[in-house]
Symmetry: C2
Subunit: 155 residues, 2 copies
């Protein structure tokens, strides 16, 4: 398991500089990934934080597995050069700083990857309190990256 985790992190970080397909496709694919993780994350948040009476262990495990699987899938390859400009499903919110601060980006990606995998483990084996705490850690890893590299959307 530790080897698998290490491999997953390696895969996700070493692909940060590679790219996958035209700019618009990369943006569209990563927007799809984050949207779908968002749906799963919202389900977890509802069940472990906002409405604990709705907690369903199987559903939280399933949602945690989605987030871990997507985190492990080499998202870095969807951040090729030029993808701070362009339209996928919508205009990208990636800040140009992302390309100037690759060390920070790599660190944040590694943190997110680790938290996503650890959360999936805790979702399967931990108590609700442990799951809630670990979900907080995972959410922080999301927010850290948003703060550094995502343009705040206008609502």
């Amino acid at each position: 398991m530790k080897l698998k985790l290490a491999l997953a992190i390696l895969l996700s970080t070493t692909t940060l500089v590679a790219s996958a397909g035209p700019i618009e496709d990369q943006i569209k694919t990563r927007q799809s990934a984050y949207s779908f993780m968002g749906w799963n994350s919202a389900k977890i948040k509802a069940q472990v934080a906002d409405k604990p009476e709705t907690y369903n262990k199987e559903q939280v495990i399933t949602a945690a597995n989605v987030i871990a699987a997507i985190a492990n899938s080499g998202l870095g390859s969807l951040y090729g050069p030029g993808t701070d400009q362009g339209i996928g499903w919508k205009k990208t919110a990636l800040k140009p700083e992302f390309f100037e601060k690759q060390d920070e980006a790599k660190k944040l990606a590694t943190d997110f990857n680790r938290e996503a995998n650890e959360f999936a483990k805790v979702a399967a084996t931990g108590s609700v309190t442990e799951i809630k705490d670990k979900f907080g850690k995972l959410s922080e890893s999301c927010k850290s990256c948003h703060q550094s590299f995502r343009i705040r959307e206008q609502h």
Copy 2:
């Protein structure tokens, strides 16, 4: 594992009639799911069928795990009443027949779910030939549903 698989299938099929959020959100979320599965599926196809010299076991496992995790995540809840009309990231391609043929929809969803989970297992343990064969079966389960319930896109 068998119990987990059975549970996953149960979750994905019993949620066919439930719904998750406003129509546009359901459509957007399922479009995200299929787009992201498409990216992973394209990676597998390239590595096991089109360019077998690029086969990378870890990457195929990772991509297979994404597809299985998403298939297990209760996509059925994103097909609530009225979601054959509406715009997510783009206009939905769901045919209205989906709601008239719920038995067929349920069967196709169950088939897809089973194939996605079995494929993830074969990706981790099978030979390249077995992986390729099983990927063919998974692809067929996608196509069956597209044929019955997806409006052909104009290119």
